[in-house]
């Protein structure tokens, strides 16, 4: 297999393991950008999703936001922001956050709104105030779905942060973009392997997270 040979050559070269263009540096860069974008997106998406879901309002508006978010080409937005704002982290953060908010927002809304109303009624009957109904009943039950929304967002961010290398950002995409320009296929395949690996690691992390945080009772019924 050709691709395997390239990957082997890339990872076997010790020059790729240190320095500012080394794998550890690029990996840390990629993870930092991704986490930062996910944090901003969650700070925007989660509260709005929770509140709208709790009161069951604004579903149509959210569906429109979701479609618009999907329709906006991430790569185009990236290049456009780069042209308008110039070098830096901001032109990259804007498209990443814009892309990650809709999945978080819509899944959270759906998760809270579509849950079985009887435990919620029971909680109200026990005299819980609205905030406690939301955080002690609705959020734990809806958690698997909420996490799946965050997972989708995280995967999209990791994937789009790769493309961000085109507008001179660091991260693992650097290898792919530079490799393509230099016709250095070894580098391209190495970068692709790393990016795919990081995406899979994201999947595993979210799987583990849902194992830890979702209450056993909810998991059994789900």
């Amino acid at each position: 297999m050709n691709v395997l040979n390239f990957a082997h050559a890339f990872f076997g070269d010790s020059a790729h393991w240190h320095g500012y263009d080394g794998i550890p540096t690029r990996l840390v860069e990629h993870i930092t950008y991704s986490l930062e974008a996910l944090l901003y997106a969650a700070l925007i998406g989660l509260p709005i999703g929770l509140v709208t879901g709790h009161y069951g309002r604004g579903g149509n508006a959210l569906a429109m936001i979701a479609t618009a978010g999907r329709a906006l080409p991430s790569f185009g937005l990236l290049v456009l922001m780069f042209i308008w704002i110039g070098f830096g982290l901001l032109p990259v953060m804007i498209p990443l956050v814009v892309l990650a908010v809709p999945p978080i927002l819509v899944t959270t809304y759906e998760a809270i709104r579509s849950m079985d109303p009887s435990p919620v009624d029971a909680a109200r009957g026990m005299g819980m105030p609205e905030a406690r109904v939301l955080f002690q009943v609705e959020v734990p039950v809806a958690l698997p779905l909420v996490l799946s929304g965050l997972r989708t967002a995280a995967i999209q961010i990791v994937s789009t942060a790769t493309i961000a290398a085109y507008v001179s950002l660091g991260g693992l995409g650097r290898y792919i973009i530079d490799g393509l320009y230099q016709k250095n296929y070894e580098k391209v395949v190495g970068g692709a392997t790393l990016v795919a690996g990081l995406a899979l690691a994201t999947l595993v992390i979210f799987w583990a997270l849902s194992r830890i945080t979702v209450s056993p009772g909810v998991r059994r019924s789900g």
Binding site: T67, R70, A71, P73, I83, S159, Y185, G191, A196
Partner: protein, 217 residues
Amino acid sequence: MNGFFDLPSDLEYSYLGLVGLHVREGLLPVLVGLLVALPVAQLCVRFRWVYPPVLGVTTVLYSIPSLAFFVVLIDYFGQSETTVMIPLAIYSLVVLVPAIVDGVRSVPQETLAAAQAMGLGAVRRYLQVQLPIAVPAIIAGLRVATVSSLSLVSVGMLIGNQGALGNMLYAATTYHRPALAVNSVLTTALLGILADALLVLVRRLLTPWMPRKGATR
């Protein structure tokens, strides 16, 4: 702003030519994805144990970034449209399989029993009962697949200008014409929204028994 629709000649296409190319590069994979997803989903419905592993594999495939997919395929198909369309077809497949499985599974047991009592065989029961009832779920999947596919085509620009409307982004940075980037983003988004609206219309035509109001989602 010199000529919003005035493209540099090295793109080798007029504006409308790029739109046509974009539509083809974006929609063909969804069609292929649908054609593969239908039998796969039917297999998952028939044999329940097939579904969890299929779901696992598709989740993993879906998480692989498009650019990584593209560059690995370059080795086999060169920097071509095919290289762009194969990952898009796989992404579509991944979105469509669960949508179809959920849709077909949601057909009530009594309905299936009634179909059987009326003497429908397995094939006719699938084509005339299960599939039509699953249409809303399938279209919901198609909407997601189509819109994301159209927006992902642009990334193809990175592998030798195979990104249709995305190629305008390259021209925008090279010739310092921001208008071209604005044009690319707006046109791509518009195509997605238009395709989405068309699919909603198709669903209305295919499922005349569904209530019009309150069924927009």
